[in-house]
Protein backbone atom coordinates (compact mmCIF):
# COMPACT_ATOMS: atom_id res chain seq x y z
CA UNK A 1 0.00 0.00 0.00
CA UNK A 2 2.86 2.39 0.81
CA UNK A 3 4.84 1.92 -2.40
CA UNK A 4 2.10 2.54 -4.94
CA UNK A 5 1.07 5.60 -2.97
CA UNK A 6 4.59 7.00 -2.97
CA UNK A 7 4.94 6.35 -6.70
CA UNK A 8 1.69 8.13 -7.47
CA UNK A 9 2.76 11.07 -5.34
CA UNK A 10 6.15 11.28 -7.10
CA UNK A 11 4.43 11.07 -10.47
CA UNK A 12 2.04 13.88 -9.55
CA UNK A 13 4.89 16.04 -8.24
CA UNK A 14 6.94 15.51 -11.38
CA UNK A 15 4.12 15.84 -13.87
CA UNK A 16 3.91 19.61 -14.55
CA UNK A 17 7.50 20.12 -15.78
CA UNK A 18 7.26 16.96 -17.89
CA UNK A 19 3.89 18.02 -19.25
CA UNK A 20 5.08 21.46 -20.25
CA UNK A 21 8.17 19.99 -21.90
CA UNK A 22 6.03 17.59 -23.91
CA UNK A 23 3.14 19.96 -24.57
CA UNK A 24 0.66 18.02 -22.46
CA UNK A 25 -0.73 21.00 -20.52
CA UNK A 26 -4.22 19.74 -21.15
CA UNK A 27 -3.56 16.74 -18.96
CA UNK A 28 -2.21 18.92 -16.20
CA UNK A 29 -5.56 20.71 -16.21
CA UNK A 30 -7.42 17.42 -16.15
CA UNK A 31 -5.36 16.25 -13.18
CA UNK A 32 -6.07 19.50 -11.35
CA UNK A 33 -9.78 18.97 -11.88
CA UNK A 34 -9.55 15.35 -10.75
CA UNK A 35 -7.75 16.30 -7.56
CA UNK A 36 -10.37 18.92 -6.73
CA UNK A 37 -13.21 16.49 -7.39
CA UNK A 38 -11.35 13.85 -5.39
CA UNK A 39 -11.38 16.18 -2.42
CA UNK A 40 -15.12 16.78 -2.77
CA UNK A 41 -15.86 13.07 -3.26
CA UNK A 42 -13.67 12.09 -0.30
CA UNK A 43 -15.54 14.52 1.91
CA UNK A 44 -18.80 12.92 0.81
CA UNK A 45 -17.32 9.49 1.44
CA UNK A 46 -16.71 10.47 5.06
CA UNK A 47 -20.41 10.87 5.76
CA UNK A 48 -21.81 8.49 3.14
CA UNK A 49 -19.29 5.70 3.46
CA UNK A 50 -18.04 5.93 7.02
CA UNK A 51 -21.04 7.60 8.60
CA UNK A 52 -23.80 5.84 6.65
CA UNK A 53 -25.48 9.18 5.99
CA UNK A 54 -26.67 9.17 2.39
CA UNK A 55 -26.59 12.89 1.71
CA UNK A 56 -28.01 13.78 -1.69
CA UNK A 57 -27.20 17.46 -1.23
CA UNK A 58 -23.45 17.62 -1.14
CA UNK A 59 -23.37 20.04 -4.07
CA UNK A 60 -24.73 22.72 -1.76
CA UNK A 61 -21.40 23.04 0.09
CA UNK A 62 -19.30 22.50 -3.02
CA UNK A 63 -21.21 25.17 -4.90
CA UNK A 64 -21.35 27.52 -1.93
CA UNK A 65 -17.55 27.39 -1.73
CA UNK A 66 -17.26 28.32 -5.40
CA UNK A 67 -19.82 31.11 -5.18
CA UNK A 68 -18.27 32.52 -2.02
CA UNK A 69 -14.98 32.84 -3.88
CA UNK A 70 -16.60 34.46 -6.91
CA UNK A 71 -18.78 36.87 -4.93
CA UNK A 72 -15.95 37.96 -2.63
CA UNK A 73 -13.73 38.65 -5.66
CA UNK A 74 -16.56 40.65 -7.25
CA UNK A 75 -16.96 42.63 -4.01
CA UNK A 76 -13.29 43.52 -3.98
CA UNK A 77 -11.79 40.97 -1.63
CA UNK A 78 -8.67 39.77 -3.38
CA UNK A 79 -6.80 37.83 -0.70
CA UNK A 80 -6.96 34.11 -1.38
CA UNK A 81 -6.46 33.26 2.28
CA UNK A 82 -9.42 35.40 3.34
CA UNK A 83 -11.54 33.89 0.60
CA UNK A 84 -10.63 30.38 1.68
CA UNK A 85 -11.37 31.05 5.33
CA UNK A 86 -14.75 32.64 4.60
CA UNK A 87 -15.75 29.93 2.12
CA UNK A 88 -14.82 27.08 4.43
CA UNK A 89 -16.50 28.80 7.37
CA UNK A 90 -19.72 29.43 5.46
CA UNK A 91 -19.83 25.87 4.11
CA UNK A 92 -19.36 24.51 7.61
CA UNK A 93 -22.08 26.79 8.92
CA UNK A 94 -24.47 25.74 6.17
CA UNK A 95 -23.71 22.09 6.89
CA UNK A 96 -24.36 22.73 10.57
CA UNK A 97 -27.78 24.22 9.87
CA UNK A 98 -28.82 21.63 7.29
CA UNK A 99 -27.35 18.74 9.26
CA UNK A 100 -28.97 19.79 12.51
CA UNK A 101 -32.37 19.44 10.86
CA UNK A 102 -31.79 16.54 8.48
CA UNK A 103 -30.12 14.29 11.07
CA UNK A 104 -33.40 14.07 12.92
CA UNK A 105 -34.65 11.94 10.03
CA UNK A 106 -33.48 8.58 8.74
CA UNK A 107 -33.41 6.51 5.59
CA UNK A 108 -35.15 7.78 2.51
CA UNK A 109 -36.41 10.88 4.37
CA UNK A 110 -32.82 11.88 5.04
CA UNK A 111 -31.99 11.53 1.35
CA UNK A 112 -34.98 13.60 0.30
CA UNK A 113 -34.55 16.37 2.85
CA UNK A 114 -30.84 16.85 2.11
CA UNK A 115 -31.77 17.05 -1.56
CA UNK A 116 -34.52 19.55 -0.80
CA UNK A 117 -32.17 21.82 1.14
CA UNK A 118 -29.58 21.72 -1.62
CA UNK A 119 -32.20 22.67 -4.20
CA UNK A 120 -33.31 25.56 -1.99
CA UNK A 121 -29.74 26.85 -1.96
CA UNK A 122 -29.58 26.44 -5.73
CA UNK A 123 -32.70 28.49 -6.39
CA UNK A 124 -31.69 31.06 -3.80
CA UNK A 125 -28.31 31.65 -5.46
CA UNK A 126 -29.75 31.66 -8.98
CA UNK A 127 -32.28 34.31 -7.93
CA UNK A 128 -29.50 36.86 -7.26
CA UNK A 129 -29.35 38.62 -10.62
CA UNK A 130 -26.44 40.86 -9.54
CA UNK A 131 -24.39 37.68 -9.06
CA UNK A 132 -25.10 36.32 -12.50
CA UNK A 133 -28.34 34.46 -11.88
CA UNK A 134 -28.51 31.45 -14.13
CA UNK A 135 -25.45 32.53 -16.07
CA UNK A 136 -23.09 32.09 -13.17
CA UNK A 137 -20.36 34.45 -12.12
CA UNK A 138 -16.83 35.01 -13.36
CA UNK A 139 -14.26 34.52 -10.63
CA UNK A 140 -10.74 35.75 -11.33
CA UNK A 141 -8.03 34.09 -9.34
CA UNK A 142 -7.21 35.75 -6.03
CA UNK A 143 -3.80 36.76 -4.70
CA UNK A 144 -1.97 34.58 -2.26
CA UNK A 145 0.93 36.92 -1.49
CA UNK A 146 3.57 34.21 -1.40
CA UNK A 147 3.01 33.07 -4.96
CA UNK A 148 1.05 33.86 -8.07
CA UNK A 149 -1.80 31.48 -8.77
CA UNK A 150 -0.79 30.26 -12.20
CA UNK A 151 -2.19 27.03 -13.64
CA UNK A 152 0.82 25.16 -12.32
CA UNK A 153 0.60 26.81 -8.90
CA UNK A 154 -3.05 25.80 -8.72
CA UNK A 155 -2.09 22.26 -9.65
CA UNK A 156 0.37 22.04 -6.77
CA UNK A 157 -1.99 23.85 -4.43
CA UNK A 158 -4.75 21.36 -5.18
CA UNK A 159 -2.34 18.49 -4.69
CA UNK A 160 -1.22 19.88 -1.33
CA UNK A 161 -4.77 20.49 -0.14
CA UNK A 162 -5.91 17.04 -1.26
CA UNK A 163 -2.95 15.34 0.39
CA UNK A 164 -3.47 17.31 3.59
CA UNK A 165 -7.19 16.57 3.66
CA UNK A 166 -6.65 12.88 3.03
CA UNK A 167 -4.09 12.71 5.81
CA UNK A 168 -6.53 14.41 8.15
CA UNK A 169 -9.33 12.05 7.13
CA UNK A 170 -7.08 9.05 7.61
CA UNK A 171 -6.20 10.08 11.14
CA UNK A 172 -9.81 10.89 11.89
CA UNK A 173 -11.20 7.60 10.64
CA UNK A 174 -8.72 5.55 12.66
CA UNK A 175 -9.05 7.62 15.82
CA UNK A 176 -11.69 7.17 18.49
CA UNK A 177 -14.04 9.51 16.68
CA UNK A 178 -13.88 7.59 13.41
CA UNK A 179 -14.39 4.27 15.09
CA UNK A 180 -17.54 5.49 16.79
CA UNK A 181 -18.78 7.05 13.55
CA UNK A 182 -18.45 3.68 11.82
CA UNK A 183 -20.01 1.86 14.75
CA UNK A 184 -23.05 4.12 14.44
CA UNK A 185 -23.28 3.21 10.76
CA UNK A 186 -23.09 -0.48 11.67
CA UNK A 187 -25.72 -0.39 14.40
CA UNK A 188 -27.15 2.87 15.61
CA UNK A 189 -29.36 1.58 18.43
CA UNK A 190 -26.44 -0.43 19.83
CA UNK A 191 -24.15 2.60 19.75
CA UNK A 192 -26.80 4.60 21.60
CA UNK A 193 -27.24 1.83 24.17
CA UNK A 194 -23.48 1.92 24.82
CA UNK A 195 -23.86 5.57 25.72
CA UNK A 196 -22.69 7.35 22.58
CA UNK A 197 -24.44 10.63 21.75
CA UNK A 198 -25.14 9.50 18.19
CA UNK A 199 -26.54 12.79 16.96
CA UNK A 200 -23.45 14.79 17.97
CA UNK A 201 -21.07 12.40 16.24
CA UNK A 202 -23.08 12.45 13.04
CA UNK A 203 -23.50 16.20 13.05
CA UNK A 204 -19.81 16.83 13.57
CA UNK A 205 -18.90 14.52 10.68
CA UNK A 206 -21.54 16.23 8.55
CA UNK A 207 -20.07 19.67 9.27
CA UNK A 208 -16.54 18.52 8.58
CA UNK A 209 -17.60 17.02 5.27
CA UNK A 210 -19.38 20.25 4.37
CA UNK A 211 -16.30 22.32 5.17
CA UNK A 212 -14.03 20.13 3.02
CA UNK A 213 -16.54 20.21 0.16
CA UNK A 214 -16.59 24.00 0.47
CA UNK A 215 -12.81 24.09 0.16
CA UNK A 216 -13.04 21.90 -2.93
CA UNK A 217 -15.60 24.36 -4.30
CA UNK A 218 -13.23 27.31 -3.87
CA UNK A 219 -10.50 25.43 -5.71
CA UNK A 220 -12.97 24.61 -8.47
CA UNK A 221 -13.80 28.30 -8.83
CA UNK A 222 -10.07 29.07 -9.08
CA UNK A 223 -9.68 26.32 -11.66
CA UNK A 224 -12.53 27.30 -14.01
CA UNK A 225 -12.32 30.99 -12.99
CA UNK A 226 -16.06 30.83 -12.86
CA UNK A 227 -18.82 29.92 -10.40
CA UNK A 228 -21.50 28.02 -12.23
CA UNK A 229 -24.99 27.28 -10.91
CA UNK A 230 -24.33 23.73 -12.11
CA UNK A 231 -21.97 23.30 -9.18
CA UNK A 232 -24.98 23.71 -6.87
CA UNK A 233 -27.43 21.60 -8.83
CA UNK A 234 -28.67 18.18 -7.80
CA UNK A 235 -26.87 16.65 -10.77
CA UNK A 236 -23.61 17.70 -9.14
CA UNK A 237 -24.67 15.95 -5.92
CA UNK A 238 -25.44 12.85 -7.95
CA UNK A 239 -22.14 13.14 -9.75
CA UNK A 240 -20.21 13.18 -6.47
CA UNK A 241 -22.27 10.26 -5.23
CA UNK A 242 -21.49 8.31 -8.40
CA UNK A 243 -17.79 8.91 -7.82
CA UNK A 244 -18.01 7.53 -4.29
CA UNK A 245 -20.00 4.49 -5.39
CA UNK A 246 -17.67 3.87 -8.32
CA UNK A 247 -14.56 4.24 -6.19
CA UNK A 248 -15.85 2.36 -3.15
CA UNK A 249 -18.28 3.42 -0.45
CA UNK A 250 -16.50 3.52 2.89
CA UNK A 251 -13.16 2.60 1.29
CA UNK A 252 -10.45 5.08 2.09
CA UNK A 253 -9.40 5.67 -1.53
CA UNK A 254 -12.96 5.43 -2.80
CA UNK A 255 -13.44 9.15 -3.35
CA UNK A 256 -10.09 9.60 -5.09
CA UNK A 257 -10.37 6.57 -7.35
CA UNK A 258 -13.98 7.35 -8.20
CA UNK A 259 -13.22 10.95 -9.10
CA UNK A 260 -10.29 9.88 -11.27
CA UNK A 261 -12.10 7.04 -13.00
CA UNK A 262 -15.30 8.94 -13.70
CA UNK A 263 -13.46 12.02 -14.98
CA UNK A 264 -11.23 9.99 -17.26
CA UNK A 265 -14.07 7.86 -18.58
CA UNK A 266 -16.15 10.96 -19.30
CA UNK A 267 -13.21 12.61 -21.03
CA UNK A 268 -12.58 9.58 -23.24
CA UNK A 269 -16.21 8.89 -24.05
CA UNK A 270 -16.99 12.52 -24.79
CA UNK A 271 -14.36 12.40 -27.52
CA UNK A 272 -15.87 9.26 -28.99
CA UNK A 273 -19.60 9.87 -28.94
CA UNK A 274 -22.28 12.36 -28.00
CA UNK A 275 -24.07 9.52 -26.21
CA UNK A 276 -21.26 9.34 -23.67
CA UNK A 277 -23.63 9.37 -20.71
CA UNK A 278 -24.96 5.99 -21.78
CA UNK A 279 -21.44 4.61 -21.54
CA UNK A 280 -20.93 6.13 -18.11
CA UNK A 281 -24.19 4.57 -16.97
CA UNK A 282 -23.19 1.13 -18.24
CA UNK A 283 -19.83 1.32 -16.51
CA UNK A 284 -21.44 2.36 -13.24
CA UNK A 285 -23.91 -0.50 -13.57
CA UNK A 286 -21.08 -2.96 -14.13
CA UNK A 287 -19.20 -1.73 -11.08
CA UNK A 288 -22.26 -1.94 -8.85
CA UNK A 289 -22.99 -5.47 -10.07
CA UNK A 290 -19.51 -6.94 -10.21
CA UNK A 291 -17.50 -4.88 -7.74
CA UNK A 292 -19.88 -3.91 -4.95
CA UNK A 293 -17.00 -2.44 -2.99
CA UNK A 294 -16.03 -0.24 -5.88
CA UNK A 295 -12.65 0.10 -7.52
CA UNK A 296 -10.89 0.43 -4.16
CA UNK A 297 -12.36 -2.91 -3.11
CA UNK A 298 -10.86 -4.69 -6.11
CA UNK A 299 -7.35 -4.93 -4.74
CA UNK A 300 -8.26 -4.69 -1.10
CA UNK A 301 -10.36 -7.62 -0.05
CA UNK A 302 -10.65 -6.78 3.62
CA UNK A 303 -13.51 -4.47 4.65
Amino acid sequence: MRWPLLLVLLFLLAFPPIASAMGLEFYQGLLTKIMILALAASSLNLILGYGGMVSFGHAAYFGLGAYTAAILMREGVSSGWVIWAVAVGLSALLALLIGAICLRTRGVYFIMITLAFAQMIYYLVVSFKQYGGEDGLRARRPEFGLFELTDTALYYLSLAVLAGALYLLHRLINARFGRVLQAIRENESRALALGYPVYRFQLLAFVLAGALAGLAGVLMAHYTQYASPNLLAWQQSGHLMMMVILGGVGQFWGGVLGAAALSIVEEVLQDLTIHWQLGVGLILLAVVLFAPRGLAGLWRREP
Partner: protein
Protein backbone atom coordinates in the same frame (compact mmCIF):
# COMPACT_ATOMS: atom_id res chain seq x y z
CA UNK B 1 -32.41 1.77 49.39
CA UNK B 2 -34.35 2.29 46.19
CA UNK B 3 -32.09 2.54 43.14
CA UNK B 4 -34.68 2.85 40.39
CA UNK B 5 -38.23 3.96 40.69
CA UNK B 6 -40.96 4.63 38.17
CA UNK B 7 -43.90 6.70 39.27
CA UNK B 8 -47.24 6.59 37.43
CA UNK B 9 -45.33 5.99 34.19
CA UNK B 10 -47.51 5.85 31.07
CA UNK B 11 -46.88 5.39 27.37
CA UNK B 12 -49.54 5.51 24.71
CA UNK B 13 -49.13 4.23 21.13
CA UNK B 14 -52.14 5.64 19.32
CA UNK B 15 -55.12 3.96 20.97
CA UNK B 16 -53.03 1.49 22.92
CA UNK B 17 -51.91 2.23 26.46
CA UNK B 18 -48.82 0.03 26.48
CA UNK B 19 -47.69 1.19 29.90
CA UNK B 20 -50.42 2.50 32.15
CA UNK B 21 -49.53 4.28 35.38
CA UNK B 22 -46.75 1.88 36.19
CA UNK B 23 -45.11 2.01 39.65
CA UNK B 24 -41.98 -0.08 39.98
CA UNK B 25 -39.19 0.07 42.54
CA UNK B 26 -35.86 -1.72 42.31
CA UNK B 27 -33.72 -1.85 45.46
CA UNK B 28 -29.94 -1.60 45.45
CA UNK B 29 -28.26 -4.98 45.36
CA UNK B 30 -31.21 -7.14 44.39
CA UNK B 31 -32.06 -9.18 41.36
CA UNK B 32 -35.53 -7.98 40.57
CA UNK B 33 -37.48 -9.94 38.00
CA UNK B 34 -40.17 -8.41 35.85
CA UNK B 35 -42.61 -10.96 34.47
CA UNK B 36 -45.87 -10.75 32.65
CA UNK B 37 -47.73 -12.22 29.68
CA UNK B 38 -46.80 -11.30 26.11
CA UNK B 39 -47.86 -7.76 25.29
CA UNK B 40 -47.93 -6.71 28.94
CA UNK B 41 -45.58 -3.83 28.12
CA UNK B 42 -42.33 -5.17 29.55
CA UNK B 43 -40.07 -4.07 26.70
CA UNK B 44 -41.87 -0.73 26.42
CA UNK B 45 -41.27 -0.17 30.11
CA UNK B 46 -37.59 -0.96 29.61
CA UNK B 47 -37.45 1.49 26.73
CA UNK B 48 -38.96 4.17 28.94
CA UNK B 49 -36.47 3.47 31.71
CA UNK B 50 -33.49 3.59 29.33
CA UNK B 51 -34.77 6.67 27.51
CA UNK B 52 -35.24 5.12 24.07
CA UNK B 53 -38.89 6.20 24.34
CA UNK B 54 -40.31 9.27 26.09
CA UNK B 55 -43.30 8.69 28.38
CA UNK B 56 -46.58 10.55 27.99
CA UNK B 57 -46.90 10.82 31.75
CA UNK B 58 -45.07 9.97 34.93
CA UNK B 59 -41.52 9.92 36.21
CA UNK B 60 -38.41 7.80 36.19
CA UNK B 61 -36.13 8.30 39.18
CA UNK B 62 -32.64 6.87 39.48
CA UNK B 63 -30.61 7.21 42.68
CA UNK B 64 -33.27 9.64 43.85
CA UNK B 65 -32.87 11.95 40.85
CA UNK B 66 -35.46 12.61 38.19
CA UNK B 67 -34.07 11.30 34.88
CA UNK B 68 -37.36 11.32 32.95
CA UNK B 69 -36.06 13.80 30.41
CA UNK B 70 -32.43 12.71 30.25
CA UNK B 71 -31.39 11.44 26.79
CA UNK B 72 -30.65 7.74 26.45
CA UNK B 73 -26.87 8.09 26.08
CA UNK B 74 -26.65 10.23 29.22
CA UNK B 75 -28.49 7.59 31.24
CA UNK B 76 -25.83 5.05 30.33
CA UNK B 77 -23.23 7.34 31.88
CA UNK B 78 -25.35 7.63 35.01
CA UNK B 79 -25.13 3.86 35.35
CA UNK B 80 -28.06 2.34 33.46
CA UNK B 81 -27.07 -0.35 30.95
CA UNK B 82 -29.29 -2.71 29.06
CA UNK B 83 -29.29 -5.78 26.88
CA UNK B 84 -31.79 -6.32 24.10
CA UNK B 85 -34.41 -9.01 23.70
CA UNK B 86 -33.39 -9.40 20.07
CA UNK B 87 -29.61 -9.71 19.94
CA UNK B 88 -28.20 -6.33 19.06
CA UNK B 89 -24.47 -6.40 18.33
CA UNK B 90 -22.01 -4.93 15.88
CA UNK B 91 -22.30 -8.12 13.86
CA UNK B 92 -19.49 -7.32 11.42
CA UNK B 93 -17.01 -6.51 14.17
CA UNK B 94 -15.02 -8.94 16.29
CA UNK B 95 -15.82 -9.59 19.93
CA UNK B 96 -12.76 -7.47 20.67
CA UNK B 97 -13.96 -4.40 18.76
CA UNK B 98 -17.50 -4.75 20.13
CA UNK B 99 -16.16 -4.65 23.65
CA UNK B 100 -13.53 -1.99 22.97
CA UNK B 101 -16.32 0.25 21.75
CA UNK B 102 -18.24 -0.43 24.94
CA UNK B 103 -15.21 0.32 27.11
CA UNK B 104 -14.36 3.39 25.06
CA UNK B 105 -17.86 4.78 25.65
CA UNK B 106 -17.12 4.88 29.36
CA UNK B 107 -13.43 5.81 29.40
CA UNK B 108 -12.65 9.38 28.44
CA UNK B 109 -13.98 11.39 25.54
CA UNK B 110 -14.57 9.82 22.16
CA UNK B 111 -14.29 13.21 20.49
CA UNK B 112 -10.64 12.47 19.77
CA UNK B 113 -9.58 12.92 16.21
CA UNK B 114 -5.88 12.23 15.95
CA UNK B 115 -4.50 9.30 17.98
CA UNK B 116 -5.08 5.91 16.34
CA UNK B 117 -7.42 3.93 18.54
CA UNK B 118 -5.65 0.62 17.87
CA UNK B 119 -2.72 1.90 19.89
CA UNK B 120 -4.85 2.23 23.01
CA UNK B 121 -3.77 -0.91 24.83
CA UNK B 122 -5.84 -0.06 27.89
CA UNK B 123 -9.04 -0.43 25.88
CA UNK B 124 -8.04 -3.87 24.64
CA UNK B 125 -6.97 -5.06 28.08
CA UNK B 126 -10.21 -4.07 29.73
CA UNK B 127 -12.23 -5.46 26.82
CA UNK B 128 -10.45 -8.78 27.26
CA UNK B 129 -11.20 -8.90 30.98
CA UNK B 130 -14.90 -8.40 30.27
CA UNK B 131 -14.80 -11.08 27.58
CA UNK B 132 -13.21 -13.55 30.00
CA UNK B 133 -15.80 -12.74 32.59
CA UNK B 134 -18.63 -13.96 30.32
CA UNK B 135 -16.61 -16.87 28.96
CA UNK B 136 -15.66 -15.35 25.61
CA UNK B 137 -11.94 -14.99 26.30
CA UNK B 138 -11.16 -17.69 23.77
CA UNK B 139 -13.37 -16.10 21.13
CA UNK B 140 -11.90 -12.62 21.33
CA UNK B 141 -10.95 -12.27 17.67
CA UNK B 142 -14.08 -13.94 16.27
CA UNK B 143 -16.56 -11.82 14.31
CA UNK B 144 -19.70 -11.39 16.40
CA UNK B 145 -22.02 -12.55 13.64
CA UNK B 146 -20.22 -15.89 13.55
CA UNK B 147 -20.65 -16.69 17.24
CA UNK B 148 -23.22 -19.26 18.33
CA UNK B 149 -26.52 -17.93 19.61
CA UNK B 150 -25.55 -18.53 23.23
CA UNK B 151 -22.23 -16.76 22.73
CA UNK B 152 -23.96 -13.82 21.11
CA UNK B 153 -26.26 -13.53 24.11
CA UNK B 154 -23.24 -13.61 26.39
CA UNK B 155 -21.59 -10.85 24.36
CA UNK B 156 -24.80 -8.87 24.63
CA UNK B 157 -24.48 -9.06 28.43
CA UNK B 158 -20.77 -8.28 28.25
CA UNK B 159 -21.44 -5.06 26.30
CA UNK B 160 -23.66 -3.90 29.14
CA UNK B 161 -21.13 -4.98 31.78
CA UNK B 162 -18.36 -3.03 30.10
CA UNK B 163 -20.09 0.22 30.97
CA UNK B 164 -19.85 -0.80 34.67
CA UNK B 165 -23.49 -0.07 35.37
CA UNK B 166 -25.13 0.45 38.73
CA UNK B 167 -28.27 -1.12 37.32
CA UNK B 168 -28.19 -3.83 34.70
CA UNK B 169 -31.37 -4.24 32.67
CA UNK B 170 -31.56 -7.66 31.07
CA UNK B 171 -34.33 -8.03 28.48
CA UNK B 172 -35.02 -11.76 28.12
CA UNK B 173 -31.40 -12.91 28.17
CA UNK B 174 -32.48 -16.54 27.69
CA UNK B 175 -34.61 -15.80 24.62
CA UNK B 176 -34.23 -18.51 21.98
CA UNK B 177 -31.81 -20.61 24.05
CA UNK B 178 -31.71 -24.35 24.53
CA UNK B 179 -31.63 -25.80 28.06
CA UNK B 180 -27.84 -26.05 28.13
CA UNK B 181 -27.27 -22.49 27.02
CA UNK B 182 -29.95 -21.30 29.43
CA UNK B 183 -28.22 -22.99 32.32
CA UNK B 184 -24.98 -21.27 31.41
CA UNK B 185 -26.74 -17.90 31.28
CA UNK B 186 -28.31 -18.49 34.69
CA UNK B 187 -24.85 -19.24 36.01
CA UNK B 188 -23.50 -16.05 34.48
CA UNK B 189 -26.28 -13.91 35.97
CA UNK B 190 -25.80 -15.63 39.30
CA UNK B 191 -22.13 -14.62 39.19
CA UNK B 192 -23.09 -10.99 38.69
CA UNK B 193 -25.29 -10.90 41.78
CA UNK B 194 -22.57 -9.64 44.13
CA UNK B 195 -21.61 -6.69 41.99
CA UNK B 196 -24.68 -5.44 40.21
CA UNK B 197 -28.28 -4.59 40.80
CA UNK B 198 -30.25 -6.34 38.09
CA UNK B 199 -33.69 -5.87 36.62
CA UNK B 200 -34.41 -9.09 34.78
CA UNK B 201 -37.19 -9.39 32.25
CA UNK B 202 -37.64 -13.07 31.50
CA UNK B 203 -40.18 -15.65 30.36
CA UNK B 204 -38.26 -18.65 31.66
CA UNK B 205 -39.97 -19.15 35.03
CA UNK B 206 -37.42 -21.65 36.32
CA UNK B 207 -34.70 -19.06 35.83
CA UNK B 208 -36.79 -16.28 37.35
CA UNK B 209 -37.65 -18.19 40.49
CA UNK B 210 -34.07 -19.35 40.91
CA UNK B 211 -32.47 -15.94 40.48
CA UNK B 212 -34.83 -13.27 41.72
CA UNK B 213 -35.10 -11.96 45.25
CA UNK B 214 -38.18 -10.01 44.32
CA UNK B 215 -40.58 -10.27 41.42
CA UNK B 216 -42.96 -7.71 39.92
CA UNK B 217 -45.82 -8.83 37.74
CA UNK B 218 -46.80 -6.58 34.86
CA UNK B 219 -50.25 -7.00 33.30
CA UNK B 220 -51.76 -4.54 30.80
CA UNK B 221 -49.01 -2.03 31.54
CA UNK B 222 -49.55 -2.03 35.31
CA UNK B 223 -47.63 -3.71 38.11
CA UNK B 224 -50.31 -5.78 39.81
CA UNK B 225 -48.04 -7.33 42.43
CA UNK B 226 -44.51 -7.13 43.80
CA UNK B 227 -43.01 -9.53 46.28
CA UNK B 228 -40.70 -12.41 47.03
CA UNK B 229 -40.99 -15.49 44.82
CA UNK B 230 -43.05 -17.20 47.54
CA UNK B 231 -45.44 -14.28 47.81
CA UNK B 232 -45.86 -14.11 44.05
CA UNK B 233 -46.49 -17.83 43.83
CA UNK B 234 -49.16 -17.56 46.52
CA UNK B 235 -50.81 -14.41 45.15
CA UNK B 236 -54.29 -15.29 43.81
CA UNK B 237 -54.44 -12.24 41.53
CA UNK B 238 -51.22 -13.22 39.84
CA UNK B 239 -52.57 -16.69 39.32
CA UNK B 240 -55.72 -15.35 37.79
CA UNK B 241 -54.01 -12.87 35.49
CA UNK B 242 -50.95 -14.72 34.48
CA UNK B 243 -49.97 -17.98 36.06
CA UNK B 244 -53.46 -19.44 36.00
CA UNK B 245 -53.15 -21.84 33.09
CA UNK B 246 -49.73 -23.03 34.07
CA UNK B 247 -51.09 -24.15 37.45
CA UNK B 248 -48.18 -25.04 39.67
CA UNK B 249 -45.40 -22.91 38.41
CA UNK B 250 -41.98 -24.08 39.54
Amino acid sequence: MTLLETHQLSKRFGGLLAVNGCNLAVKTGEIHALIGPNGAGKTTLLNLITGVLAPNKGQVRFEGQDITHLPAHARVHRGLARTFQITNLFRNYTVRVNLELAVQARRGSSFRFWQPVFKEKALTEEAFRVAERVGLGGRFEVVAGQLSHGEQRALEVALALASRPKLLLLDEPMAGMGPEESARMVELIESLRQEFTILLVEHDMDAVFRLAQRISVLVYGQVIATGTPEEIRANPEVHKAYLGDEGGVA
